[in-house]
Symmetry: C2
Subunit: 323 residues, 2 copies
């Protein structure tokens, strides 16, 4: 982009600024495609099986404003796809036992095919215990130990893969990125986001993976190590939750950058805005980049719909669980 | 080491050879310590609970000579520790259904606390399906999807962690190696060996991990990438099954090398010998190194005893499963 600056005497001096040359990966388009496919498949199935009514329940604890927005998006997506959804809301004083009782009850309800526990939970509730209480067949978030372990063993089409990891997988596939023998960096190691992504990137293609040498970084990774491994990476996925963590000096031209960060920050004018983990200046590198918002986020929601339909098909015997 | 070579005229010319300066990590010593601890704990428990008789069953299919040796070592270790063990042997024509029936029957037998399916299996049997048939509470190998998923979530003392990964974990701990923020390379990504090791090395200390930046390499990793990441690594764990894969040019002084490879090769004289994944010349680097044989192997067997006692304690209610 060519700008000019005005100096004291009124002359205009042309000045070359760094251009924004990165290609944006349109997550919203992929999300819409996935949702349309879910919607169409559901219409098709219901032509012969009108009693097939996939439904998920979201369990929400307390009043987290971000959670409310996410829940609303999930319900809107469900409505578009023709899936039934409902939210059960509890005060943040609910005991672990009561919450598990609710989950057990929902596990047994044949009209419910998917159960989502909206995270984060209040501190007195153990996240893994609560998530593991969901029956694996209804675990459309893919957060139970059973479904995480399945992911380690292999990634079949009947696996309930965590939605964000599935979003990253499908973005890479839809971009047609060559991955065999290439190097990936995953920043963030949570068991339900960073770690599943690293496992998929590193896994054998025959197991549903990408055959990449995979570097897992996290808060204990020194800055210089992070910069150095990122500079060699063909794909960088950041799920660190640190706004602007990766900047243009850490990105190799030709790389694909997938931004899982969704950080609420104040703009210069004091407005609440959302920023990713990649600094905006990575746009000056010739790379591919998912925007925030409008990148991974909508795909994650779309794959929740995909997993709900999958769970309902498996429960109805329309599809079989792979070995 | 100072050698001399004799030249034609009978003079001896001193010649400096590269010295072997690596420190060997005595896996056998750690293994003996673990087995003694298991033995002593068992004696202690039986003083008040003489009916407490931990027992594992190993299911062996076909006639793999290597498997026979491993089984024998497991039985010897069990005998030393005071654990009961038995081997059930089947022809390699056994059907998957029959084998799963046997496992289901053993799952229900209260006198059996641990079930081991000796790998590899004949091609007509699906390894993950067979391993997942073992009840997670009796899965002393830690190969079921449930126990693998638990490992992703956290590594509590009541987890059944795959024995080789547990051996690597305890070797690093017993050597007192500083790991926080350091870099590890794991070569090999199998779901029951390489991947669990990478997860443990990368995990948060609060979850039982080592807080290392972790690079996962495998057969799709180009040689130059492997060499480059190894040269930067503070710990290299190789579980590739490729004799001599990592040589001295790929090792940084001060590194800790953990050799999970156990490769049967022919010696120069045609004898069957066992070689690790590290080239013998890594001994010329000032590093720490587990030998093969006598390194990780005996520790893996010892931790199978540890897991069997753990399983029996959990089943008897002597110890509680962590959340």
């Amino acid at each position: 982009m060519l700008f000019s600056i005005t100096i004291g005497n009124g002359y205009h001096i042309p000045r070359m600024f760094s251009r924004n040359i990165a290609t944006l990966i349109k997550g919203t388009e992929l999300a819409n495609k996935i949702k349309s496919e879910v919607r169409n498949e559901l219409i098709n199935i219901r032509q012969t099986k009108p009693e097939f009514e996939p439904q998920f329940v979201a369990i929400a604890i307390g009043n987290n404003p971000a959670s409310s927005i996410y829940l609303q998006r999930k319900q809107e997506a469900a409505s578009y796809c023709g899936l039934k959804s409902k939210v059960i809301h509890f005060e943040d004083t609910i005991s672990q036992k009561s919450l598990i009782d609710v989950i057990n009850h929902t596990n047994k309800d044949p009209s419910i095919h998917g159960i989502i526990v909206q995270l984060p939970l209040p501190n007195h509730l153990c996240e893994t215990t609560i998530c593991n209480a969901v029956h694996p067949s209804k675990d459309v978030d893919g957060f139970t130990q059973t479904n995480l372990g399945k992911l380690m063993q292999k990634m079949s089409d009947s696996n309930m893969i965590p939605c964000t990891a599935l979003a990253v997988k499908k973005i890479i596939e839809s971009e047609g990125i060559e991955t065999y023998g290439k190097t990936a960096v995953v920043i963030g190691r949570s068991h339900n986001v960073g770690l599943p992504i690293a496992i998929i990137l590193g896994a054998d293609k025959q197991k549903g993976g990408f055959d990449m040498t995979t570097v897992s970084c996290h808060r204990a990774t020194p800055n210089e190590t992070l910069a150095s491994v990122c500079r060699n990476a063909d794909i960088i996925v950041s799920a660190a939750g640190v706004p602007g963590l990766v900047d243009k000096t850490m990105v190799k031209p030709g790389a694909c950058l997938i931004d899982v960060g969704l950080n609420r920050v104040k703009s210069e004018t004091g407005k609440d805005i959302v920023r990713g983990d990649f600094n905006k200046n990575v746009s000056q590198v010739d790379c591919r980049l998912t925007p925030v918002p409008g990148g991974v986020g909508p795909c994650t929601v779309a794959f929740l719909m995909y997993n709900t339909l999958l769970a309902a098909k498996l429960q109805a015997g329309i599809m079989n669980q792979a070995e």
